[in-house]
Amino acid sequence: MTKNNTLKILISAFWVTALFCAAIFCCVRIAGGNAFESNIMVLVPSTDEARPQLAEDTNLQKGFLVLIKHPDRNVGRQLATEFHDTLVSQAGVEKESDPAALLESLRQFFQPYRYQLLSREMQEKLSTQSPDVIAEEALRALYSPVQGLQLYSLSDDPFNLGGTWFQSLYPQAAQISPEIIPALTEGGNTWYLVRARLQESPFSISSQSAVIPVVEDFRQRWPDAMLVTSGFVFHAAEATATARGEISTVGLGSLLGIALLVVIVFRSGRAVLAIITTLTGSVLFALAGSLFVFDQIHLITLAFGSTLLGLSVDYCFHFLVKSRRLGSGLVAGRLIAKGLAISAGSSILVYLMQLFSPFPGLRQFAVFVMFGLLGAWLTIVFLAYWYQDSPHQKGFRELALYRLVQSFYLPAASRKTLVISLSVLIICAAGLQIFRSGFSDDIRLLNTSSNTLIADEIQVMSLLGGIDTQRYWTVVGENQQQVLQSTEQLVSVLRPDIQVMAVSDLIPSQQQQQQNHQLVMEKLYGPDGALEKLCALMTTDCTLWQDGDFSFRSGLTPDVVPPIIAGAFPVFAVSDPNHSIVLPLQGQQLDGGRTFLFPGANGVSFVDMVGELSDTMAGFRTQVSWLLTLFLLVFSIACLLLYRTKGIAVVSSVFISLCAAIALSAPDAITLFHVLALLLVTGLTIDAAIFYRELGFNSDSWLAASLATATSILAFGLLALSSVPVLQQFGVIVASGLACAWLVTPLFHLLVKSGSFEEIQ
């Protein structure tokens, strides 16, 4: 057995085994049903894990709400009832807890403590009004046919302390009519509130499949009715649909483009098979590698990763063109080996930089593409031993095309001054663009929700209110009572300007409960209190009222609150003996959030998730920009050392392509995703320049580079049509950078080589 044969068997065995293992691993992971993820939040960096985090509380994420309105109120009620029944009959969807059960739990649990729980309004009223005035007002209420919202009967709570306290906790409670499907009347229209809960995460595909078809079916069947949605599941489903659509668009578009190019250029079944083998190897390695490194792959990563098809096939084009010309895969493989190694190595190096990103999504993408490129590289090495093609001479059309290329590049390369002037102009345009548009680190770039869905959320918020889960205050303390007292202090500072929800609203500190009780006894139930005055005014026997047990009850602390009540108040979900959270209600200006911290407020801090993420993006943008600059510097030195003065062609191609990409693609502002796209442009331009350097500028290398650029532009051009800003920006900059690289790389190569076109016949 010759040395070549041994090597062929070894490499083939390794490649087939690796591919087989990757395929089995992928099948097992995907069949497990938990391989993919659609929660956009996992793509962004997690914040300080030590502090309370509301947005990631999965229990809160499982609930959702659908509002239904019809011009005919009775029809609306009927439709809402049918919709609710259909929804909760779906697997994975269950009824939301009964509001009556929650109300009853609240009533029973807090009943012993009703004389020590006061709303802020009641505290003020008792502090400022005399028992006589309070008694007179209570008397009017007793004779009124309409009572305010009550938690306890008149017998148990003649001054309706419970009702006013409950009202302050649930400001919207009084507006909701307790029909079978709760109703809310607004501007003469009645909205029916259909609430339900998912058994699994809203980001699981099965949860989305249970809910979305029911909503779509309703919209189709009842065009007269209006349906508004609110909840994580709807945003997650839309993100999933977007990602799926874009995987299809980019993946399918790339595949079709590649197939078309292969058929037109090679007209060979073997070439098509080689392309399919390369793509299969690349995608399987990418998937397996990513699933090995990460528990789940995000669908956006897959959408981004679809562009890998365009990259991995580049190597195959270079290989096929050379094989066709030389009639031997092995010889072609050897010829392009160095270029392939430098090209794949430098591209992998560029993606390695993204592993330092604080964004898990970018790390996933980097791993996906790195493994994909490695897979494509190994597949080419494998193909080199097996692929055979008969030597091929140029046809008439190819020669005509090459002459056209010659007629453009050779005269252009002879005008050095013009080329240099144009290059300077492109560099100036890029500089001007950066100076003019500046930078943007707006986190909304990551948003995948449509305007319709966001408008729905705003409408629900305006009808029912809501809490801001992105900006809030946290309180840290040594023990529960200290945390509660600090929370009360913070709330008292905030409340004049900002409406908030806090644990201390439901469970005040023991100190506050004592103060409340003292006030209640002094103004209402004590000697000369309002109850005595009220009884005098009614001229009736109030003995049963007056003989009530008004004593203070200790033991009301957050840890004894029943789960049904705690579950209804989001602030409980993220509070423990050492932490609490104060959430602002939606729709308030909180720009000065930090300024509300009162002097000496140890342990209180303001959290702005949006601001923090934007800061992270800004930091990472700066970091990547410096890394890219450093890489370009090192790469330039390496090129000059390796190729001497001829390395200038490679370096210039990369610089001018990057500048053109910036000048053409960032009309508003330069973002992190523009910079990341520049990394890709760098990698792809280096590929083309290195292959020209290694193989010379000839008809074959030009054809291979053009095919590679065409497929990459096709892939990234399709990304530019994405509805997700991140993908769209990425697509536009890479497509324009590559187009420029395709044009200028041969030009610089010829400039440095003094205009020689090395035709291989």
Binding site: R73, D98, L154, G188
Partner: protein, 194 residues
């Protein structure tokens, strides 16, 4: 004053609750509505008097009050208690429920929406308005008619166990049984119909 109003109520036998009844006919709402619509007097504006008794379990005697009421399809309900202490209650779609000692002291009441719905639904004659809240049962009556309204949901039943309404050409009496055992009885007399 109280005796005068009571006596006048007994003589006239009219009540604001006529429209109350109209709205509280449901599942059997359609049936009840059609039979009652034929019998009840339809009006855009009604004025009258009321006598109200509240039975509260901790009090040995009921709390009695009386006063005047008006209802207009545009202006809503005004409930003016004169005895034993003056107070005013105003309910309309635009402002919800307002209450105060006098007209210039009216303030928004954070009252349950269902209360406003019942008052306005009843008095505007929109029977279907309450179909989502109550089921209606026709009870035997010697003269006129009697209806019992029972809440659909336990949440509402906690507040209102049932409402009994009776009358003839107009509503004459309403008995509201609360979930905690307390009870309110209202006798109505219509004085002016437009």
């Amino acid at each position: 004053m109280h005796a005068e109003i009571t006596g006048w109520l007994r003589r006239t036998g009219y009540g604001w609750g006529c429209l109350f009844i109209l709205c509280l006919c449901g599942g059997s709402f359609a049936h009840a509505q059609s039979s009652l619509t034929n019998r009840l007097h339809q009006a855009d504006h009604i004025e009258g008097t009321f006598l109200q008794k509240r039975f509260i379990s901790v009090l040995s005697v009921p709390l009695e009050s009386s006063g005047l009421f008006t209802f207009g399809k545009e202006s809503g309900v005004a409930w003016h208690t004169l005895e034993p202490i003056e107070s005013l209650l105003q309910i309309d779609l635009q402002h919800g429920v307002l209450a105060g000692a006098t007209a210039d002291q009216l303030q928004q009441v954070t009252s349950s929406q269902v209360v406003a719905d019942i008052f306005l639904g009843v008095l505007s004659g929109e029977l279907e308005r309450l179909a989502g809240l109550f089921s209606v049962t026709e009870l035997p009556a010697e003269d006129g008619w009697r209806l019992q309204l029972t809440p659909h949901t336990s949440q509402l039943a906690d507040q209102i166990a049932s409402i009994l309404v009776s009358g003839d050409e107009f509503v004459e009496a309403v008995v509201l049984q609360e979930g905690n055992g307390d009870r309110t009885e209202i006798v109505l007399q219509v004085v002016t119909v437009k």
